[in-house]
């Protein structure tokens, strides 16, 4: 939420560049939290002997970093593993594999005892304001718990500090002796926020911190979190469904789908030119607070098909069962998360707003064929225009590298691709921008 990082940079970000260029232009910021190859699988057990018969792959291999003082927004389908990711990076749950580094220190396997001092620095605001507050404790004792657990005596005494915190989040300090059930949903959420902020942590993972708040209180809490960030240099990972709120608070945003990060980009790029088809579908479904635009929903991309199960995620790209651009390669080869533009990492073979990553592949999947019929024409036209523009860019860059790709035909929007399938030829992978070369080559190898 810092001012500097929030300047919209979409205009400049639109230029393809070499993979070796410094990431995001914010490389000067220190990394506070680094996550590598993180997975969390919940075993499914059956029968008397409780044999493991499978696993819910809630988080299935994600890499990202959070820089000091920034806000990373996390969005994605319900059930895609956001809360699990939050609980694992705060070490409330143990990861199945992968590593978590906090301030350069590997905390992946720290014991509970060794984690205790770290708890001060890493706090989580829980999604469920009901389940996370002990119904038998008063608000005062809930919010003062962190002081007790850490043996910290704030200036002026615990009670005074707790009342100050309650006031800070917009609660009446008189409520000190009340119990959780006497509060409304939004009030309880603020109790959770007060508790998390009590010890002035360095990293706060906030799971839906404002979803239960009405917009005016929401604005207060967002501004409060913003102020605390400025004052104390807090770093946030904010998980939320409300894309308007996420846009407002985040410097960078990670989009998750079924246990994976499919796109990770700075705010402006993500909202102005999303590259992953799922991101695009998400953006198109945001309800706009304007009743006169009701019905004029031609731009909404309907996601067809079932939400796949994290127990047996689809092969290749996990989104292929619902993607209107899916082709054969999407079913067989998992796209890697690569930086296609400055500050924009995407895992897709046929990204939006960019040259196709796997243009040689044109056999359209049935999911895509079915979806393409239902995607409103407006979207197709737009995506055709965008793809064409991107193709031109790709052509330009490809010519510069002395190759002559047949990108033109291959980059046609997927919806038309079944008709065009015969004309497709083996287009060289280099047709894509240089920095995607590696992944594309890898894909063709498999």
């Amino acid at each position: 939420m810092s001012e500097t990082n929030k300047k919209d940079t979409a205009g400049t970000a639109a230029v393809p560049h070499q993979a070796s260029a410094p990431a995001d232009g914010s490389a000067e910021r220190e990394v506070l939290l680094r996550v590598k190859g993180l997975t969390k699988h919940f075993p499914i057990k059956k029968g008397l002997l409780q044999r493991q018969v499978g696993a819910v792959k809630a988080v299935d291999g994600i890499d990202f970093e959070v820089r000091k003082g920034e806000t990373l927004g996390v969005v994605g389908e319900s059930g895609c593993g956001k809360s699990t990711m939050g609980r694992v990076i705060t070490r409330l749950q143990d990861p199945t594999s992968g590593s978590i580094e906090f301030e350069g220190r590997d905390i992946t396997r720290l014991s509970t005892g060794k984690m205790r001092p770290m708890r001060r620095d890493v706090q989580m605001i829980f999604q469920d304001p009901y389940g996370s507050l002990n119904p038998r404790h008063t608000i005062g004792s809930i919010v003062s718990a962190p002081f007790r657990l850490q043996g910290v005596e704030p200036e002026g005494g615990v009670k005074k500090e707790v009342q100050r915190l309650l006031e800070l989040v917009g609660l009446n300090p008189e409520h000190y002796n009340r119990y959780p059930h006497e509060f409304s949903g939004g009030q309880r959420q603020r109790i959770g926020i007060a508790r998390a902020l009590a010890l002035k942590p360095k990293l706060v993972v906030a799971d839906e911190p404002v979803s239960a708040l009405d917009v005016s209180i929401q604005a207060q809490v967002v501004n409060l979190m913003d102020d605390l960030q400025q004052e104390l240099g807090l770093t946030y990972v904010i998980i939320a469904h409300d894309l308007s709120v996420v846009r407002h608070v985040s410097d960078r945003i990670a989009v998750m789908y079924l246990g994976k990060i499919v796109e990770l980009a700075d705010r402006a790029s993500l909202y102005e030119a999303p590259m992953h088809p799922y991101t695009k579908a998400l953006m198109s479904a945001v309800p706009v607070p304007d009743p006169s635009r009701r019905g004029a929903k031609s731009e909404r991309i309907l996601l067809l098909g079932d939400v796949p199960s994290p127990i047996a995620p689809p092969s290749g790209c996990r989104f292929h069962t619902r993607c209107w651009k899916a082709t054969e390669i999407c079913r067989t080869t998992e796209p890697q998360l690569v930086e296609l533009k400055i500050g924009q990492r995407v895992a897709c073979h046929h990204p939006e707003n960019f040259a196709d990553q796997a243009p040689q592949d044109t056999v359209l999947l049935s999911a895509a064929k079915e979806a393409s019929e239902l995607v409103p024409d407006a979207v197709l036209e737009e995506s055709a225009a965008v793809t064409e523009a991107a193709t031109e860019a790709a052509e330009a860059s490809a010519t510069a590298e002395d190759t002559t790709p047949e990108a033109k035909t291959d980059a046609e929007p997927a919806a038309d691709a079944d008709a065009e399938a015969e004309t497709a030829e083996e287009a060289p992978a280099e047709a894509a921008a240089a920095d995607a070369e590696e992944s594309a080559a890898e894909s063709t190898d498999k």
């Binding site: 929030k6 919209d8 819910v56 969005v75 994605g76 389908e77 319900s78 059930g79 809360s83 469920d128 009901y130 917009g170 009446n172 008189e174 002796n177 009340r178 006497e182 509060f183 409304s184 949903g185 939004g186 839906e208 979803s211 239960a212 708040l213 009405d214 917009v215 005016s216 209180i217 929401q218 604005a219 207060q220 967002v222 501004n223 913003d226 469904h241 894309l243 308007s244 709120v245 846009r247 407002h248 909202y271 579908a281 998400l282 945001v286 309800p287 706009v288 607070p289 304007d290 009743p291 006169s292 635009r293 009701r294 996601l303 079932d306 939400v307 796949p308 199960s309 994290p310 127990i311």
Partner: protein, 362 residues
């Protein structure tokens, strides 16, 4: 509360006729009050709320967190049975008064004629029972069918709310579901009997926008198919704009503005409604550096501010002549048609402030 007690409290007996001004309403609420006695004093969570909902229509309820939205809806469902809760007023559902009705009768209506999607998904689902078993149970209470038929129905409902592999997930426990999946399972449970009145308290806050769109479609389908009346409580003004026919804005336990959705967004009359619209981050606008919240704290419901409950936070409190905003509680007054607002500002002042100061900044 028994009729005897009511008589003792000087309240109207409940076997009066349905309100005459609500002939075609499926649900009519008149002067609903729900107060809780606590150690700190009497909490007036809901303090005189009236509205109607017709069949096939959706009423959106928005308002301050803690303004009494959930308490109102629990009241409609007859769910305030705690000893410290005092409920008065009238709730007419399809010609039947519920506040004074026999609790057993209300229980029979619940789940069949009226159903609720709770703000708190965990409280509605029992943690020790499988999700599917709970939906099956909800169905079988009101339908004489075999377990197998009910199970098929439960799977169908889980599928309709977008739970992947519903035939497997049906045997999961609530804690094994993500927040949004629990919410969807609860929606499935609420819709399993095709209720004629559906009260949805923040049904989509834990859902991503694509699933949200799907759930809103599902509710619309229900309405089309069964002519159900829907009350949608939400903080998301985008959702309200999308689905509501009428909107009710609550503040401090009372309705401060009510009207057709188009008018609430285009010509809102109440300063609190202006504040709501102004504090919302909008995806269809440029990003501002800072949001503009309504300044100040939500009102205490024990010591409700005198006069207009919004006056300590209202930028226009000094505009009406005299000290009227601080001494006289404004009643709902008709703006035009079905549009009502409770504010002492004159019509000219309201129009001027809205068009000159507020609307340009949205």
């Amino acid at each position: 509360m028994s009729k005897l007690e009511k008589a003792a409290l000087g309240e109207p007996a409940t076997d009066v006729a349905a309100p005459s001004d609500a002939q075609d309403a499926f649900l009519s609420v008149r002067d609903l009050r729900i107060h809780f006695s606590t150690d700190d004093g009497l909490v007036k969570s809901v303090d005189g709320v009236s509205f109607d909902v017709k069949r096939g229509q959706t009423l959106g309820i928005v308002g301050e967190s803690g303004s009494g939205k959930s308490v109102t809806s629990l009241g409609l469902m007859g769910l305030h049975r705690a000893a410290n809760a005092k409920v008065s007023g009238q709730v007419w559902l399809d010609g039947q008064e519920l506040i004074g009705a026999d609790p057993d009768e209300v229980r029979r209506l619940r789940g069949r004629k009226m159903a609720m999607i709770f703000q708190d998904p965990l409280s509605a689902m029992h943690p020790y029972y499988k999700v599917g078993a709970q939906i099956v149970e909800a169905y079988r209470v009101h339908n004489k069918v075999s377990k197998k038929v009910a199970r098929t129905r439960a799977i169908e409902m889980l599928d309709r709310v977008g739970i992947p592999e519903p035939d497997k997930r049906i045997d999961g426990y609530p804690h094994e579901f993500s927040g949004g999946m629990r919410q969807r399972a609860m929606i499935a449970m609420a819709l399993v009997n095709n209720p004629e009145l559906l009260i949805a308290d923040e049904p989509t806050t834990a859902l991503d926008v694509t699933v949200q769109a799907q759930i809103l479609d599902l509710i619309r389908d229900l309405q089309k198919e069964f002519g159900s009346a829907v009350i949608m409580i939400t903080h998301d003004l985008g959702v309200v704009a999308e689905i509501a026919d009428d909107v009710l804005v609550m503040y401090g336990g009372r309705c401060v503005e009510r009207g057709p959705v188009g008018e609430i967004f285009d010509q809102p009359q109440h300063p609190y409604t202006w504040g709501l619209l102004g504090s919302m981050p909008r995806i269809d606008r440029e990003t501002a550096d800072r949001l503009t919240p309504v300044k100040g704290q939500p009102p205490s419901l024990i010591n409700v501010p005198s006069g207009c409950a919004f006056h300590p936070r209202c930028p226009y409190a000094d505009l009406p002549k005299g000290n009227v905003t601080r001494t006289v509680r404004p009643e709902l007054e008709q703006v035009e048609g079905g549009h009502w607002s409770a504010c002492h500002l004159s019509a000219e002042d309201r129009t001027r402030i809205w068009t000159e100061e507020i609307a340009p900044k949205l």
